[in-house]
């Protein structure tokens, strides 16, 4: 597998401007002759499609939801980082770059992260101009708040719905292009295969989710902006429809899958309430600005929170990490919560929860201030749990939330397959082994608004394309695969529902490949997944027809892919014999229980290459070179 990162030469702070000066441009009159396929309409997809349409390219956009506005970026709550330094608290592009690389436990590509920090300020300008109603101070200037893993206040926000407002901004930019005819929108369309012809990504095959029609789409480049794969755990904070089918099909067509074991378990989610639970709800990390996290000092203390005196509480994040306290990064906070519960000090049903308590802040600032800052989050908590967080502390527990791993891309966001670009959460490049809060929105919009318009144009201008239509053999082949697989799923006629399999897969993943991983556990998990996968193909029941709106059939295809991806995730976790960020191997930890990296052996990206269904995939390596920052042990104490 060819893994050329194509990082521009020169000093770190000049690399991106050098690349922009070097790239080839497309003649304005020729732009409309290029067709660009964009899959997914979250922050990355919508911003990319809108920006490319505006430049004059002929853009075809696909999403599985009934409207582009519903992509899961909409659910991001807390905020978006940018190095504006409006607070005069010492922030800079360099510091945002440093915090992000350090937060990612030195497993991200330096040059990509630097560019991300550089364009962060443009994103805020762009969004404000689009009418995104960010929070403001009385003087009319933009307000900021703090997020985990940083000592400066650089997070911009719109109540607890920042993702919604940024997405609606990108969606409105996309609407403008759809109205202008440069973008053609295909909602309720699920990409089921990638088509490679002449060694280049030249199109996709989709299923119309209302009529069941299988269709081929030809283009000159394909952009996958399809998000992450947290739903491999079944219970996660992702939307029910989020799936990995697009990137998984690309992997099986030859794209490298980088660092699948880097998954993020978010520390502040509402704990599971019962067996029937269908998803977990996030409570924004921003709550940790004013909420204090604690558990009882003694194991098995069943008293109500209010009855536990101050001296018998353990504010463990403040105790263990005095300099970052409740704003320790997500991986660190999640593991600490698990340790407390493992010690028998967890609270709530099943002892799987810790308190997030606003009592002190309410005393200090008044209930009204807390209500203004977090009103909608507290309301959401109360609707779900029936408890009032202004009176009783919230109960929270970690849950799968984001995946740092994804398809491998070079500096230009192109995968190892020419013409296949991967943006946002679907790629691997910027967050290393752990993503800091408020950085996902930043990356999605950086990729879509400010990176891809340059790098894609360069690819198109420097490539000679052969004429192609969907009667080409590569398209016939992909359509055939899609049809066969649907027939197969519908004809098993077994006894078990898709959800029952997905739930069971999720339990295996959570138990053995969640917050703590061991050699023994992972090896066993791979066997268990294979066994369950065989049962899936033997005993699945999908009713209805292929040529109809069929939600069970949609789910079945996605879960079939999750079985394979789950196995690769365990394999990657097994072969990465170190702990870093969200990947915690019990065998590799310090005396204090912190992640212990092995830079001598694993300071690289692990990139998996598909070798056929019955063969072990090959593990390739892209070494990570740190020219600006010193590799050091992450400390938040």
């Amino acid at each position: 597998m060819r893994l050329e990162a194509r990082i521009p030469s020169g000093p770190m702070d000049q690399k991106w401007s050098r690349r922009r000066d070097e790239i080839k441009l497309v003649n304005p009159a020729n732009k409309r002759k290029y067709t660009v396929i964009v899959v997914g309409t979250g922050l990355a997809g919508a911003s990319a499609a809108a920006s490319l349409g505006e430049l004059g390219f002929n853009v075809k956009v696909f999403c599985y939801q009934d409207s582009a506005r519903r992509a899961h970026s909409i659910a991001a709550q807390g905020g978006i980082n940018a190095a504006k330094n409006y607070q005069n608290d010492g922030d800079s592009v360099y510091r945002l770059f440093y915090d992000t690389v350090k937060g990612g436990d030195y497993r991200a590509r330096e040059a990509n992260v630097y560019r991300l920090a550089e364009v962060s300020c443009n994103i805020i300008d762009q969004c404000v101009a689009q009418g995104v109603p960010f929070a403001r101070e009385y003087a009319g200037v933009l307000d900021n708040r703090s997020f985990g893993g940083a000592l400066v206040s650089r997070t911009f926000y719109a109540r607890g719905q920042t993702g919604q407002q940024l997405l609606l901004g990108a969606y409105s930019a996309l609407c403008r292009q759809i109205g202008a005819g440069t973008c053609e929108m295909h909602p309720r369309s699920e990409m089921l295969d990638l088509v490679i012809a002449g060694g280049r990504a030249r199109g996709i095959v989709t299923r119309d989710m209302v009529t069941g029609k299988i269709e081929s789409w030809v283009g000159d480049a394909v952009l996958l902006c399809t998000g992450g794969y947290s739903n491999v755990f079944y219970l996660s904070t992702n939307a029910k429809g989020c799936n990995a089918t697009a990137i998984w099909r690309a992997y099986k067509r030859g794209a490298g899958f980088a660092n699948p074991c880097y998954t993020q378990i978010h520390p502040t989610c509402i704990p599971q309430a019962g067996e029937y639970q269908s998803k977990l709800t996030l409570m924004s990390e921003s709550l940790r600005n004013d909420g204090r996290i604690w558990v009882p000092l003694k194991a098995g203390d069943n008293r109500r929170a209010a009855d536990i005196p101050e001296a018998e509480r353990d504010y463990y994040l403040e105790r263990i990490y005095p300099s970052y306290g409740n704003l320790a990064p997500r991986d660190v906070s999640s593991r600490a919560a698990k340790r407390m519960c493992d010690e028998g000090r967890g609270v709530g049903p099943g002892g799987r929860g810790v308190y997030l308590d606003f009592a002190d802040s309410i005393k200090r600032l008044g209930e009204n201030v807390i209500r203004v800052r977090y009103g909608n989050l507290c309301e959401m908590y109360e609707r779900i749990t029936g408890e009032d967080p202004y009176k009783v502390p919230m109960r929270i527990y970690p849950a799968p939330h984001y995946t740092m791993g994804g398809l491998w891309v070079d500096y230009d966001l192109m995968s190892n397959i020419d013409g296949l670009f991967v943006l946002g959460e679907a790629n691997f490049s910027d967050h290393g082994a752990n993503r800091l809060g408020a950085s996902a929105l930043m990356q999605g919009l950086a990729d879509g608004y400010f990176v891809i318009p340059y790098t894609l144009a360069h690819y198109l201008a420097s490539t000679k394309f052969e004429k192609l239509d969907s009667s080409n053999a590569a398209f016939r082949d992909a359509e055939g695969y899609v049809q066969d697989r649907m027939k197969k799923l519908l004809s098993i006629n077994g006894k078990r529902s898709v959800d029952s399999f997905h739930r069971e897969l999720g339990l295996i993943m959570w138990e053995y490949c969640g917050m703590g991983r061991t050699r023994e556990g992972l090896t066993g998990a791979i066997d268990k997944i294979r066994g369950l996968r065989a049962e899936f193909w033997r005993d699945l029941r999908v009713l209805g027809e292929a040529a109809d709106l069929n939600q069970e059939l949609e789910k079945a295809g996605r879960v079939a892919d999750y079985f394979e991806l789950g196995e690769l995730l365990c394999l990657d976790a097994l072969e990465r014999e170190e702990s870093c960020g969200g990947h915690f191997r019990e065998e590799y930890q310090t005396a204090e229980g912190e992640a212990k990296r092995d830079d001598a052996k694993f300071c690289h990206v692990g990139v998996w290459e598909y070798q056929g269904d019955d063969r072990k995939p090959a593990r390739n390596v892209e070494p990570l070179e740190f020219e600006t920052l010193q590799l050091s042990t992450r400390s938040y104490k």
């Binding site: 911003s47 809108a50 505006e54 939801q65 409207s67 519903r70 899961h72 909409i74 504006k84 443009n122 805020i124 300008d125 762009q126 404000v128 101009a129 689009q130 009418g131 995104v132 109603p133 960010f134 403001r136 101070e137 003087a139 009319g140 200037v141 933009l142 719109a158 109540r159 719905q161 919604q164 407002q165 969606y171 409105s172 930019a173 609407c175 403008r176 759809i178 109205g179 909602p187 209302v210 939307a239 029910k240 429809g241 309430a273 019962g274 029937y276 269908s278 998803k279 309301e379 959401m380 609707r383 779900i384 029936g386 608004y449 400010f450 529902s497 959800d499 009713l543 709106l549 069970e552």
Partner: protein, 256 residues
């Protein structure tokens, strides 16, 4: 608790559709309404019957996918609550629960409880944006916006586009939805240059889609899971009327 569900089943756009009754036992009060439907669907699959199709995605009240009329009320009728956030503790043993899709001319039923809301998108394509080229934005803090104005714009911006307002309206009007976008942009300085043109284009697109008009029932604001108020409709009508009286194109500085 045990419930009796009466659910609208309709095979496709052309099918006539009908209510089918399903008894459901041992529903936990901690479940969400959609999790209750998940359980029903598991049982239907077990019996070899096609599960009930309903739209849902984020299940935390923000994507706007879900929506059904429960007991005559869109989203079940609890203030500020989408159906995915509605919990079964609001129901009691023995309840008869009637579940229907949004009913409106501009939202044809696709299957069971799923409707086609693409008309909302087409209204947005007609003008639901501020035209700003990527990369051409001025420095963010060069546009000062009073906090109360930004907050009010945010109140309108919270619309999730679920369509409950249309389902609640006896006229099948989409004016709460359209006015929310027009008001968000109309309040902000960034939205001023296109304000009249936007109101005109969006309202005309809305009428073309077959939505009804507002006659001040206010059922929409009661049904809105984001509690968006009807004051925006007055703003929209004002801007639309001004735009129609003196269109941007007609306002020439030159002698006629």
């Amino acid at each position: 608790m045990n419930l009796t569900l009466h659910i609208w089943r309709q095979k496709n756009r052309n099918d006539k559709g009908r209510f089918v009754t399903y008894p459901l036992k041992d529903v936990s009060e901690h479940m969400s309404f959609l999790e209750m439907l998940d359980i029903l669907n598991e049982q239907l699959i077990g019996r070899g019957e096609e599960p009930v199709a309903f739209e849902h995605d984020c299940r935390e009240g923000i994507c706007g996918c879900c929506g059904m009329v429960i007991g005559g009320a869109p989203h079940g009728g609890h203030a500020g609550t989408t159906v995915c956030q509605l919990h079964m503790r609001h129901f009691k043993d023995g309840d008869e629960v009637i579940i229907e899709p949004w009913r409106a001319k501009a939202f044809p039923v696709l299957k069971d409880l799923i409707v086609d809301r693409s008309s909302f998108d087409r209204i947005m394509y007609a003008g639901g944006y501020i035209s700003v080229r990527t990369g051409s934005a001025p420095e963010a803090n060069s546009i000062l916006i009073p906090k109360d104005v930004a907050e009010k714009a945010m109140d309108y911006a919270e619309c999730i586009g679920c369509g409950a307002c249309v389902a609640a309206c006896p006229n099948g009007a989409a004016m709460l939805f359209v006015s929310a976008k027009i008001s968000q942009f109309g309040l902000l300085p960034q939205g001023q240059p296109e304000r009249m043109r936007r109101a005109q284009n969006m309202v005309l697109a809305m009428e073309k889609e077959g939505f009804g008009s507002c006659t001040n029932y206010t059922a929409c604001e009661i049904a809105c899971p984001k509690r968006i108020g009807i004051s925006g409709i007055a703003r929209m009508n004002r801007d639309f009327n001004k735009a129609m009286l003196c269109t941007v194109e007609a306002a020439s500085g030159k002698r006629a």
